[in-house]
């Protein structure tokens, strides 16, 4: 039976940590608009070609209304972040979304990120010192990848260092589609919501230099600002969107570069490759998680296939990023690839708000690691790296390293 006739289970099972499942190439070639069955049992339509994924992500007819009554549920327990009611408080599209995006976007400009570099470098150096002190082999994910982005976001939100670990737990719980029970997810969401309400009240009473204080200072909707509940949810969303994604990518990036140590050596010899190397690991990340779901409130056509109203589409950016029609030698890692218009941050009006932050964090981590631990290597064979199961965002369980 060909892929055209069968209904694939999605996510597609994959035993290797860093390599793509064989089905991607076959789907791109012969079945670019494929029927898939989600963990909930609901059906969706999977897109794997570069041109289709790019077009759909930028097309406002493909909405993010995953809470529509006939939208596919991602897992039996619900859809985690994607289907939650909380996700409806931030405007989904049109002028209101653009207004929200621009109020928050000023915090993620290239200049702001450049200004954050010194403090990020300091955080990375301190975390690496601690890891080295604990002795080798060490787990680069637990020691560096997981804490760094949550420290950076907590700083941006004005959250004290003492509360960082609670933030880590909440973001882990809210992004997981299968590991936690519905009761645990709801409890975490409730605690997080309460914490942020108290935190906002404190910022209102005593404003700081942080993003939330400035959003409060703009005023309410009548003054061109956001409603209280929107500020609160924005704070929650920034943590959930910015923590686990980057944390996992740090571990995957380093693993990909160490899997063939000539890559690491090329970067040691020429650190000016750091920027393009980061982009190339983002492009080739075969374990980026679920992809982006979209819901169709009206009939629409993709690649000559009519998709009926009510269809839930899943865009696999990771499969699209390996499309030979968009990238020369798409399966090869080229540390100097340029331009590299990969879709790992999405495309269009909803493309990742925090992409400049993520890029800066990844560049800083790589720069500091190359400088401080030039002898870095994986402490286990690549085949023994294990995937984390159950996350909307894919990652490795641990990244054991020596130096």
């Amino acid at each position: 039976m060909s892929l055209n006739e069968q209904v694939l289970s999605y996510p597609i099972p994959n035993d290797t940590a860093l390599e793509p499942p064989a089905e991607w190439a076959e789907l791109r070639g012969t079945c670019p608009v494929a029927h898939v069955k989600l963990p909930s049992g609901d059906q969706a339509t999977l897109l794997t070609r570069y041109a289709d994924v790019k077009q759909v992500l930028a097309d406002p007819r493909f909405t993010r209304q995953l809470n529509a009554p006939d939208a596919a549920r991602l897992s039996a327990e619900g859809g985690g972040v994607f289907n939650s009611e909380i996700s409806t408080i931030i405007p989904d599209g049109g002028a209101e979304h653009q207004h929200w995006r621009r109020l928050v976007g000023k915090w993620f400009t290239a200049k702001r990120m450049a200004a954050l570099r010194p403090s990020m470098t300091e955080i990375a150096e301190r975390l690496i010192d601690d890891m080295v002190e604990r002795g080798q082999p060490g787990d680069l994910k637990a020691g560096l990848g997981f804490p760094l982005p949550v420290y950076v976001i907590c700083d941006m939100l004005g959250v004290p260092a003492a509360d960082r670990d609670r933030f880590s737990y909440w973001s882990d719980t809210l992004l997981n589609l299968t590991r936690y029970t519905q009761a645990e997810i709801e409890a975490a969401q409730g605690e997080f919501f309460q914490y942020m309400s108290d935190h906002l009240a404190a910022k209102r009473a005593e404003p700081g230099e942080d993003l939330l204080s400035e959003l409060i200072a703009v005023g309410g909707p009548e003054d061109g600002g956001l409603a209280d509940i929107q500020i609160l949810v924005t704070g929650m969303a920034l943590l959930v969107a910015g923590h686990e994604t980057t944390a996992n990518m740090i571990g995957k990036m380093v693993s990909m570069l160490l899997a063939d140590r000539s890559r690491w050596e090329a970067l040691l010899a020429d650190p000016s490759l750091i920027r393009t190397a980061v982009e190339e690991t983002l492009r080739l990340d075969a374990n980026s998680g679920f992809g982006l779901p979209r819901y169709l409130p009206e009939e629409t056509e993709v690649s000559g296939t009519v998709l009926p109203r009510g269809t839930t589409v899943v865009c696999s950016m990771a499969a699209a990023n390996r499309d030979e029609s968009a990238f020369e030698d798409a399966a090869e890692m080229d540390l100097s690839r340029s331009p590299n218009p990969h879709l790992s941050f999405g495309a269009g009006a909803h493309s990742c708000l925090g992409q400049a932050l993520a890029r800066t964090e990844l560049q800083v981590v790589l720069e500091v690691l190359l400088r401080r631990l030039p002898a870095l290597e994986l402490a286990v064979p690549v085949e023994e790296l294990e995937r984390v199961e159950g996350l909307a965002v894919g990652g490795l369980r641990t990244v054991p390293v020596r130096w």
């Binding site: 930028a58 995006r101 976007g105 000023k106 400009t109 290239a110 331009p339 495309a347 400049a356």
Partner: protein, 66 residues
């Protein structure tokens, strides 16, 4: 080379500023693109082409030969 930017499409990703800071900037108050140099010099052409190619919102248009 002539460069046109679309402020309505722009999503403030900042890639153009990272790649070609002499040609692009972002507004302080919302992160939207500012075109510093609509007719950049030859030394900037490769960078401008890269910035246009990777812009997630396809908000940069480059016309060559002009």
């Amino acid at each position: 080379m002539k460069v046109i930017v679309d402020e309505v499409k722009c999503c403030g990703a900042g890639q153009c500023v990272l790649i070609a800071p002499e040609v692009f900037d972002q507004r302080e108050d919302d992160g939207i693109v500012i075109l510093l140099e609509p007719e950049p010099g030859a030394d900037q052409h490769a960078l401008v082409r890269e910035a246009a190619a990777v812009c997630p919102a396809a908000a940069i248009e480059v016309s060559e030969g002009a």
